[in-house]
C-alpha cells in the first residue's frame, strides 16, 4: 500500500506540473506588465500590478458580459439536462423500431462544422427576431450540448436495474416520480458530468456568440477575443479576463463534483 501511495504521488507530480504550468502562467501574466512577460530569465516571482484587472473591469461593461455569460450558461445547463434526461430515459427504457437510427441521428449536429451551421442559425434567428437575445443563444447551445448528454445518460440509465424502478412503482410511485426520485440519484455522476459539460459548452463558446449576439447579449469569449487587437493579444488584460472567467466554472465544478463521487456509495444498490 505504502509503495502504491508513493508511486501515485510520484506519477502525479509531472501531471500536475504539466496541467498547472500554463494556468500559472496565465495567472501571473494577469499581474505582470507586458514587458516583464518576456523577461529572460522568466520571472517566477515578481511584484504584482493590478492595472490589467482594472482595465478589464472598468473599461468595458465587464459585469454585464459576465452576467450574460452566466445566465446563458445556466439556461443551457438547465435546458439540456431536462430535455436530455427525458430523452435519454426514453431511449434507455424503450427499444422500438428505429431507435438505434434515431439515436445516431441525434449525433448529427456534432458532425457538422459550427461554421457551416452558423449562417442558417443566423438567418433563423433573424426571422424570428431572436438575434442579440439570451434565448437565441441558449437554444443553439442546448442543441450543442444535448447529443453528448443524451448518449452519456443513456449509458448511466442503462446501468440502473429495472427492478429498482419496479419496486418503487409497486410502492406507489408514478413513472415520472420514479425517474426523479429513484433513477436520477443513482445516475447522479452521469448527470453531474452532463451538467458540467453543458455549462462549459455554453461558457466557452465563441463563434455562435460572435455572430448571433450583439451589444446586449455579448458573452465573455467574444470579449476575450476582442482583446486580440490588431496589435496582437493584450496578454495582461486577456489573462485577467480569463482568470475572472475561470472562477464561476471552478465554483460550479466544485459544487458538482461531489455528485460524481456519490456513485461509489450508491453502487451498493446493485446486488
Amino acid at each position: 500500500m505504502r509503495l502504491r501511495r508513493f508511486l501515485t504521488v510520484l506519477a502525479l507530480i509531472p501531471v500536475l506540473a504539466w496541467t498547472l504550468f500554463p494556468i500559472y502562467w496565465i495567472l501571473t501574466a494577469s499581474f505582470k506588465t507586458e514587458l516583464s512577460l518576456y523577461a529572460k530569465p522568466p520571472q517566477w516571482l515578481f511584484s504584482p500590478i493590478l492595472e490589467n484587472y482594472k482595465r478589464v473591469l472598468f473599461n468595458i461593461p465587464f459585469f454585464q458580459y459576465l452576467s450574460n455569460s452566466l445566465l446563458i450558461a445556466l439556461g443551457t445547463t438547465g435546458g439540456s439536462l431536462v430535455l436530455g434526461t427525458l430523452a435519454a430515459y426514453g431511449f434507455s427504457r424503450i427499444k422500438f423500431w428505429g431507435s438505434e437510427a434515431l439515436r445516431f441521428l441525434v449525433l448529427v449536429t456534432r458532425m457538422v462544422p459550427r461554421m457551416t451551421l452558423v449562417v442558417p442559425y443566423y438567418l433563423m434567428m433573424l426571422k424570428i427576431g431572436m438575434l442579440d437575445t439570451y434565448t437565441g443563444l441558449v437554444i443553439a447551445y442546448v442543441s450543442f450540448a444535448m447529443p453528448f448528454s443524451i448518449w452519456l445518460l443513456i449509458g448511466f440509465f442503462d446501468e440502473v436495474p429495472i427492478e429498482v424502478e419496479e419496486a418503487a412503482m409497486v410502492d406507489g410511485c408514478t413513472p415520472l416520480g420514479t425517474l426523479i426520485r429513484v433513477v436520477i440519484p443513482i445516475a447522479a455522476p452521469g448527470l453531474a458530468v452532463a451538467a458540467i459539460f453543458a455549462f462549459l459548452v455554453s461558457w466557452n463558446e465563441f463563434l455562435f456568440a460572435l455572430i448571433l449576439s450583439g451589444p446586449a447579449s455579448k458573452t465573455l469569449p467574444v470579449v476575450i477575443a476582442g482583446l486580440t487587437t490588431d496589435l496582437g493579444p493584450l496578454y495582461g488584460e486577456m489573462s485577467a479576463a480569463a482568470v475572472m472567467v475561470m472562477l464561476p466554472n471552478i465554483l460550479m465544478t466544485v459544487i458538482l463534483q461531489r455528485y460524481v463521487v456519490r456513485g461509489l456509495t450508491l453502487g451498493a444498490v446493485k446486488g
Binding site: 500554463p22 430515459y89 461554421m115 457551416t116 453502487g267
Partner: protein, 285 residues
C-alpha cells in the same frame, strides 16, 4: 405495458427540439451547397448541382486538408484517450488526498480555448518563450515549435491534449465510479490479479463510456478550430491547415456555396467515422 407507453412520450420534447433546431439548418446548408453563391455578388447566384463538390474533390488544397485533419484527429484522440484512461485508473484508488487534486486537474477545461492557445503560443515561442529558454539551458536546443511542419503538428496535438485530457479523465472516471465494487471484491476472493480484473471486469464495462468519449472527442477534434487557428494559423505553409481552417478562409470571403459544400463533406466524413467506430465496438457485444 402502460409504463412503457408513457415513457415513449419522454422522448418527444427532447427529440422534437433537437431535430427541428438541427435538421432545418442542415437542409439549408445542403441546399446552399448546390449553388454558386457569393455574398459579394448576390445577383449572380447559379444552380450548380454537385459542381461545388467536384471543385473540392479536384482541389489539392482541400485534399491535403483532409489528410491533415485525419492526422490531427487520430493523434489527439489517441493521446487523450490513453492519458485520460491512465489518469482515471490512477484516481480509482481509494486515497483521500486524491479528491482535491481531481478538481485541480480539471482546470484546463475552464480556460477559454482562445486564451489557453494564446498562452501556449507564448510559451512555445522559439525566441521569446519560456519552454525554449529552459530547453536551451539544458542544452537541448531551441526547436522551432510552430515553425516546422512536424513540430507544428506535435504542438497543436499537445495543446489540444492539455485542454482535453481532463475531459476524457472526467468521463472515464465517472464511469469507473459507478462500477460496483462487489465485482472486484468477488474477483479478488477468486484470486484474480489487478491486471486480470482490469481486463475482464473494467474494460468490458467501460467500453461504452470509452467509446462515447472517443466518439465525442473524435467529432470535436475533427472540427477543432480555435486552438489550431491561434497557434499556427494553418502554417507553416499549409502543414496544419485542417478542413475547418480552410472552411474559415472560404467562409470569411463570403463564398457560401463552396463553404457549405465543405461543411456537408465534413458531415459525411465524420458520419462515416462514427458509424465505423460504433459498429466496431458495439457489435461484438
Amino acid at each position: 405495458m402502460r409504463t412503457a407507453q408513457t415513457r415513449r412520450w419522454y422522448l418527444i420534447p427532447g427529440l422534437v427540439f433537437l431535430l427541428s433546431i438541427d435538421l432545418v439548418p442542415l437542409v439549408y446548408s445542403l441546399g446552399v451547397s448546390l449553388f454558386n453563391w457569393w455574398l459579394v455578388r448576390p445577383q449572380e447566384i447559379r444552380f450548380l448541382g454537385i459542381g461545388n463538390y467536384l471543385t473540392l474533390a479536384a482541389d489539392p488544397a482541400f485534399r491535403r486538408s483532409v489528410v491533415v485533419t485525419c492526422a490531427f484527429t487520430f493523434g489527439s484522440v489517441l493521446v487523450e484517450l490513453l492519458a485520460g484512461l491512465a489518469l482515471a485508473l490512477l484516481f480509482a484508488q481509494p486515497f483521500r488526498f486524491l479528491r482535491p487534486i481531481r478538481a485541480i486537474l480539471l482546470l484546463p477545461l475552464f480556460v477559454v480555448p482562445v486564451v489557453g492557445a494564446t498562452m501556449w503560443r507564448l510559451i512555445l515561442h522559439p525566441d521569446m518563450g519560456v519552454l525554449n529558454y529552459y530547453l536551451g539551458l539544458l542544452g537541448l536546443g531551441q526547436p522551432a515549435w510552430l515553425g516546422e511542419p512536424t513540430l507544428a503538428m506535435v504542438a497543436i496535438i499537445l495543446v489540444d491534449a492539455w485542454r482535453t485530457i481532463p475531459f476524457m479523465f472526467l468521463v472515464i472516471h465517472a464511469g469507473l465510479e459507478t462500477l460496483p465494487s462487489e465485482l472486484y471484491e468477488a474477483a479478488k476472493v477468486d484470486g484474480a490479479s489487478w491486471f486480470q480484473s482490469f481486463r475482464y471486469i473494467t474494460v468490458p464495462l467501460l467500453t461504452y463510456i470509452m467509446l462515447l468519449a472517443v466518439l465525442i472527442r473524435g467529432m470535436d477534434a475533427f472540427r477543432e478550430f480555435d486552438i489550431i487557428f491561434v497557434l499556427t494559423g494553418g502554417g507553416p505553409g499549409t502543414a496544419t491547415e485542417t478542413i475547418q481552417l480552410l472552411n474559415y478562409r472560404v467562409f470569411g470571403l463570403g463564398h457560401m456555396g463552396i463553404a457549405n459544400a465543405v461543411g456537408i463533406v465534413t458531415l459525411a466524413l465524420v458520419a462515416v467515422m462514427c458509424f465505423l467506430l460504433i459498429r466496431a465496438v458495439l457489435k461484438p457485444r
